[in-house]
Structures are given as C-alpha cells and as structure tokens.
C-alpha cells in the first residue's frame, strides 16, 4: 500500500470525517445551485470569465509590467520570487526588518503552498491565523483540508474541544454561535497588537496596482489595517486588467464558492497609508510569486492558471467527498489539486492523484472559468503512462487487452472462452469472488455473463435467417 492508499484507508475508516465533509459540502452545493439558478446569465458569464483569464495569461508579461508600474505609483514595494522558498525568505526578511514580534495572517492558499506558516515559526515570529478556520487548524496543529473551508474536516464537537483547551474564557461552547463568539474575543487584541499583517490576493488589478481580498469575516481588513506593515503574497496568475474585469470575476467566484452573491467584505488595497489617512500600514509590500506557475504554462497547463480557488470542484467531487482533503497529501485537494500537485510536487510522487478520479466531469461543469479539469487530469495520466509510472499489473493487463482489441478473431475466441469460464465462479446469477476480479468483488457482486457473446449470438441469428 503506498502513502496515498494509506491515507485513503485511514480517511474512509473515520466516520466523523465523513460527517464533517457532508455537513459543509452538502450546504455548499445546495447554496451554489440556488445562486446559479438565480443567475440565468451564468453560462455566458462563465465563458466571459474564461476568456478574460485566458486573455490575461496570454499577455502575462504585459499585465505584470503594468501592475508593477501602477503598484509602485501607489507606494507599494514590489518583490519577485521564483520559488516558494524565495518568497518565504522575502517575507521573513521584511518581518525582521520591521522587528516584528507578532504577525497576523489572513487565509491565503498561496501562503500554505509556499510553506509560509512554517517559515514564520522557524524565524521565531509569533503567527496568528485570523480566519476562523485557519485559527481552528492552527490550534489543532493541522493543515487545511479544503481551500475555502480549511477546517471542513472538523465537526462542531471537535472545534468545541479545541477552543475549550486553548481559549481564555471560552464559555459554554454549546453552539456554533458561542464558538464564533469565543474566537472573536480571543483574537481581538491580537489583531490590534500585530506588527505585520500578511494577506494573499484574490486579484491583482493591473491598471491601478491594487490587490483585492475577499472575506466574509472581515479578518483580512483587520489583518491588514492596524499593523505597521502589510505584506501581500500573490501568484503571478492572479492578474486582471482592471476593476471592471474584477467585477465579472467576483460574480463568478463568490457564487461558486459559497453561494452568496458577494463576499461581505471585498477590499481593494492600494499602497500604504496616504497623507491624512487615519489608519492603514506605513509599509505595503507585494511579493509576486512564480513557484511553478511558469512551469505550468510550459507544461500545457495554461488553463489551470485560470483557477479562482473557489473550491466548487471539490465540493462536487465524489472522491473528495469520500476521502476529504488531507488524503490528497498536498496543499490543494480535489480535482484542481489533482492537476496542480503533480506540477508542483512532481508526477512520480503524486501520480495517484490524477488516477484516483472517475473522470465524471462534474468538476468541469461547475468550474466558474470552465477549466477542463478531466482533460487535464487525463493529460497527467498520459504523462504517467509515457514515463512508465503505471503499475505493472494494470499496464500489462491493458497491453494484453489492446493486443486482442486489434485482432477481432482472436478477441472473440478469447472472449467466448472467458464467458464460459466465468459462470464457474457464480452462485445464482452472481459472482461474489473470482480470480483477478478482487477489486470488483471485494465490495460488489458481478453479474454472470448472459451466455455467448453478442457477436456470436448475432452471427447465429443471421445465419438462421
């Protein structure tokens, strides 16, 4: 059993996990469905969103240059990072230069991807996660299991236990409301005391140099406004030409993520505090991170760079909904993760991810920017096959199958022979155990073949005419 299979086995054996996954993803799917039903123009908007992102990606150099120039005009300091490690070094360097003791962080999947939480801790800087879900998993010492709901794998009972152990005056914690209220009280002073606030960016607005964050809790603004320094880490693919395109993207992103029409707090941050401003940071840094984006571009995964990180693909994925996010063993779980992870971590170690997919296509159907996820997933399988990663037994089974499939006469002989053997394993009409069919019969019965093959019976029927 490899590492992936081991994690899957553990996940499937955990009944609490399935309960937790169902509670959130069921709500997410039904709320999204309602939001899309109330938006008949969705199909057109989805195509527009796709084309806007493709336009930006095709002209990435142009828009990155534009963004940098405009961001500099707002007083932002721009940094470029080729790798996650380089990005972390830049962020830690800024924190150290600011003599930061405490850093608040607003949820950013890029931050998780590049290992920023760990880098901050390794540098001895207190890290305070402010998104409620990130706060929960920080207390639990875990990693996110979903890109929108990082603590999706936790039930309310488990959250209650964590807060009881870690919060000051947690109260009864009998309801989710009481848990939220306890987190609010416990994080309040941390927001105000932080030296540096770190956020991601949902969009980089090329023509103003602003960055956009979306949250429902308001934690992004509380993270970025009080501290002296605001650091943004953003993937270079997050560009949109202007605020106008950001509006189309927001309509698509928010409905797809949570089923709301707009996040409660949608903020465009442009530079540090301006003359006269009462609040806001004195320094504003934007770290533009490649970390594999240009490699994806080169690998034929340009379509994946459209991704808005809405999470709809995983909410609708039958595999994700059984095994949860941690089983994927990577920052990004679900269908989008199965495309991204082999590029980030290498195909050999993550080859199971694209393979553990039924290619049912629902992820593509719900994707707000129409990323052809099943096609990209199958693309990885092609690479895995070419590179010889397909397990030997299935590779040989397929080669034997192909040999016969190209030789119809032999095929029919072999198939009619097999059809005569199979019933020997049957009881009634069904086979519950048969050599070479363990993957099937461990959990299901296999119907016995009806008799001779269709072609053989058809030939007989035609001959009798």
């Amino acid at each position: 059993m490899n590492a992936f299979q081991g994690r899957v086995t553990a996940a499937l054996a955990d009944p609490t996990l399935k309960t937790a996954i169902d509670r959130t993803t069921n709500t997410a799917r039904s709320k999204r469905a309602a939001a899309i039903a109330a938006w008949p123009e969705f199909a057109q908007a989805r195509e527009l969103g796709r084309d806007m992102k493709d336009h930006v990606i095709a002209n990435m150099e142009y828009y990155l240059t534009m963004f940098e120039a405009n961001a500099v005009k707002t007083g932002a300091k721009i940094h470029w990072a080729r790798t996650g490690q380089e990005a972390c070094e830049i962020v830690v360097g800024i924190c150290k230069a600011a003599k930061a003791k405490s850093v608040t962080r607003s949820k950013s999947m890029l931050g998780e991807e590049i290992g920023l939480p760990h880098a901050l801790e390794a540098a001895g800087i207190e890290r305070v996660e402010t998104d409620l879900a990130e706060h929960i998993i920080q207390l639990a010492g875990e990693t996110p299991s979903h890109i929108i709901w990082p603590a999706l794998h936790k039930t309310r009972e488990q959250v209650g236990e964590l807060f009881r152990a870690h919060h000051t005056d947690p109260g009864e914690l009998a309801t989710v409301e009481e848990m939220v209220s306890s987190a609010r009280r416990n994080l309040r002073e941390k927001f105000m005391a932080a030296d540096v606030g770190i956020s991601g960016a949902n969009f980089l607005i090329a023509d103003t140099g602003a960055i956009c964050t979306v949250t429902n809790e308001g934690n992004a603004e509380l993270t970025t406004t009080p501290p002296r320094v605001h650091i943004v880490t953003a993937g270079i693919e997050k560009l949109v030409p202007s605020m106008v395109e950001a509006m189309t993207m927001l309509r698509l992103l928010v409905r797809s993520a949570t089923g709301a029409e707009l996040t409660q707090y949608t903020t465009f941050h442009a530079g540090p505090k301006q003359p006269g401003d009462v609040d806001g940071p004195e320094e504003f840094h934007i770290v533009l991170v490649d970390a594999g984006r240009t490699t994806m571009l080169a690998e034929g995964l340009a379509e994946m760079l459209r991704c808005l990180r809405c999470g709809a693909c995983m909410n609708h994925c039958v595999v994700y909904r059984q095994i949860g996010g941690h089983a994927y063993g990577a920052t990004y779980p679900g269908p989008m993760g199965s495309v991204i992870t082999p590029s980030l971590d290498g195909l050999e170690t993550s080859q199971d991810l694209p393979r553990a997919c039924t290619l049912n296509g629902q992820c593509h159907e719900v994707c707000p920017v129409a990323i052809p996820l099943p096609t990209l997933i199958r693309g990885w399988r092609t690479k895995a096959w070419v590179q010889g990663y397909e397990p030997l037994h299935t590779a040989w089974a397929l080669r034997i199958w192909e040999f016969f499939a190209l030789r119809p006469v032999l095929y029919q002989l072999a198939s009619n022979l097999a059809l005569r053997i199979m019933p020997l394993f049957a009881k009634g009409g069904w086979i519950s155990k048969m050599p070479l069919a363990g993957g099937w019969t461990r959990y299901r019965d296999m119907p016995i073949p009806q008799g001779g093959s269709f072609l053989a019976q058809y030939k007989k029927r035609q001959a009798a005419k």
Partner: protein, 254 residues
Amino acid sequence: MKNNPPRVALFATCLVDAMRPQIGFAALALLEQVNCLVEVPMGQTCCGQPALNSGDQDGTRKIAKHNIKLLAGFDHVVVPSGSCAATIKKDYPDLFETDPVWHAKAVDLANRTYELLSYMSDIWGWRPKNVSCATTATYHDSCSGLRSLNVQAQPRAMLASVAGLEMRPLEGANVCCGFGGTFCVKYPDISNAIVAEKAAAINATGADLLLGGDLGCLMNMAGKLHRDGSKIRAFHAAEILAGMGDGPAIGETA
C-alpha cells in the same frame, strides 16, 4: 445522409458484447423500429476507453484507427453507451490533433456517431408504442452521456411513454456512481464508498427497477445493490423501451 433509410452500424461495446447481449438485441430492435438498415460489423471489439483513461494514447490511437476503418461508410454509428459513444465522438478527434489525415477521418466518424437513446429521440423523435412495463423505476444519468453528449431528457421522455411504468426521481441522479472504468478496480475502497452512497439513494426511491444508459455503471450499481441484499433490479433503458422488461434483469439467470 447518403441512404434513405440510413445504413446504421451498431457498435455494441465490449461490455455489452460480453456481459449482456440482450442490450445489443434491444438496440437492434429499436433501430429496426425506425427502419434503419442495421448492421453489426463483425470486426468490432472495444472503443479503447480503458487504454485512453489509463494514459496510453498510442495504444488508443491504434484501436481508434481500427474502428475508424471498420465504421467507414456507414451513415450512422449507434452505441448503446454514453461513455463509449463519447470516446468515439469527443476523444478520437483529439487523439489525432497532429495528424491531419486521420484527424479528418476521426471527425467524420465523430459526426456520424450517436449514443443510442439520444439517437432514437433526437434524430427520429421515436416514442415506444404498445410497450408496457407495470412497475416503478428510477433513472441514473451516467456521467459521460450526461456531460459530453447531453443525454438527460431523452431517456426520460421515452420512458414516459411506456405504459404502466411509474418513474421515481433519484436524488443525485447526475452524481457519479463511482464506476469510472478502471478507477473502480484501481481504487476499490473509494469506489465502494461512492457506490454505497449511490445505492442508498437508489434504495430510498423505493422503486423496483434501476435504469440507466451505460452497462458499466449499471453493473457497478446492480452489483452493489445485490451484495447489500437489495431487491432492486437493473436494466439498460433500451431493454425496457424494446419491451424486454419482462426478461431477466442484470445478474438474473433466465
């Protein structure tokens, strides 16, 4: 269309050929009702989907070329499976993107290829007459047919004309059953968890029959239902439409 009535090849699919020939005969019966000149090309084996979905594009191209040659000259090619039809219709052309000669041939085949249920309804506007099946049934949409070929309303519309048949909606009818071709044997534990949920939804309908348009998915669901002791019986929708619903269901002996 060159011929009137059209010359139609029935591509039975490897699963139907081996496991449930009755679906092939049901397809023949339906195609004959709309006066097609149906032939069953004897050189047919498999569409190549298992190889394609395992990443073996070279192997799939060989099989695709075999089928493109085999199915040349027919006005229509009809397939009683959404996923195999989609392989021919959608994937064959993509496989030959860099080979203009074969690409043109693949596109030509793709344009002539149809999934059986949508073919009967969309091309012929066919509805069953004098077919009865006095029972309750529910319908599962197989993913490839649904999402690649837009097969959804057609089977339901045709089944609505079967006398005595009461259709019950299936919660999550458009959600994958966990079959996924080789997926179900490569990752049996995950596949089982998915089909267990599907089986629960099917049981919850209280219907007597489970119907669908793809034998792979039907075998997966029927096999799970049978293992769990459910009394629900499974048929390909074409069998019911062809009036074969009184025969043995999947896994039942005659």
